[in-house]
């Protein structure tokens, strides 16, 4: 996000602000109009509206003499709704920024995994696991050098 007053952070402005040429309009907007995305738009909109009804419901309960929990829930429901909307806008921005030629987004980062060798007490299995761990290590190192 470009924080601060207008005029600053010009270069790090929002990614969405691209020249709206024909290529951009044709290439990017239909991505958000596939059946999956349209369904998701509707679902998110419905849930967003629902959180305000739920917050209002808790507010009426609180005003009818409910306790602290109802007051906090009256506040929390709309909070969840707004957070959900914010999450969704990030998802949409990610989708728009995605390189269309790239494969389906997958996770290409492998976290360090504690080697689990010899969990069975079987020496043959332990040797095999050690071999697999070594292969994994090599593969990871190869990718780092990329």
């Amino acid at each position: 996000m470009s924080g601060g007053p207008a005029g600053r952070g010009v270069t790090s402005g929002r990614r969405r602000r691209r020249p709206t040429g024909a290529g951009y309009t044709r290439g990017v907007l239909p991505r958000l109009l596939t059946p999956r995305w349209v369904l998701l738009h509707l679902l998110v909109a419905a849930l967003f509206v629902a959180t305000f009804f739920l917050g209002y419901w808790q507010l009426t309960k609180a005003e009818d003499g409910g306790g602290a929990v109802n007051w906090s829930y009256a506040l929390q429901w709309p909070l969840y709704g707004l957070m959900g909307l914010w999450f969704y806008s990030k998802m949409v921005r990610d989708e728009l920024a995605r390189d269309p030629d790239a494969d389906e987004p997958g996770q290409d980062v492998v976290l360090y995994q504690r080697p689990r060798i010899d969990t069975t007490g079987d020496p043959e299995m332990a040797a095999y696991n050690a071999y697999l761990a070594e292969l994994n290590e090599k593969a990871l190192r190869g990718r780092d050098g990329r």
Binding site: Y73, V109, V110, L111, Y112
Partner: protein, 118 residues
């Protein structure tokens, strides 16, 4: 955006901040999970069986706000690790179900450590 971490041999590696986000997610998953159990197994019986509403008022309120933090942590990890929309939604919702939150945390941990998305 992507954080740089340094590998054992000193080379910089782009990990998109996943390890840190993963730790934050796990901490929040446990905090929210434990609070939910306390709420359901301790505070609620106290309120409805022993007529002691204090614990529900405290834990219920705190849990609500901590769940918001859990949502932030989980969604941050989901974006960094590029989870599917369905998997993300299920993990976010699992945080509201007693006991299931721990199952979800285990699934996420297993898959993240194996380099798979959720």
């Amino acid at each position: 955006m992507a954080a740089e971490s340094t590998t054992a041999n000193g080379r910089a590696r782009t990990d998109r901040g996943i390890p840190a986000a993963f730790t934050r997610y796990r901490v929040m998953a446990w905090v929210v999970g434990v609070m939910l159990i306390a709420l359901v197994l301790v505070a609620m019986p106290l309120k409805y069986l022993a007529d002691t509403p204090g614990p529900v008022a405290v834990i219920g309120t705190a849990h609500g706000f901590l769940y918001a933090v859990y949502l932030l942590a989980a969604f941050d990890l989901a974006l960094r690790a590029r989870w599917s929309a369905k998997g993300t939604l299920l993990v976010l919702l699992a945080g509201t179900v007693p006991f299931l939150s721990f199952v979800a945390e285990r699934v996420v941990t297993r898959r993240t450590r194996a380099g798979q998305s959720v």
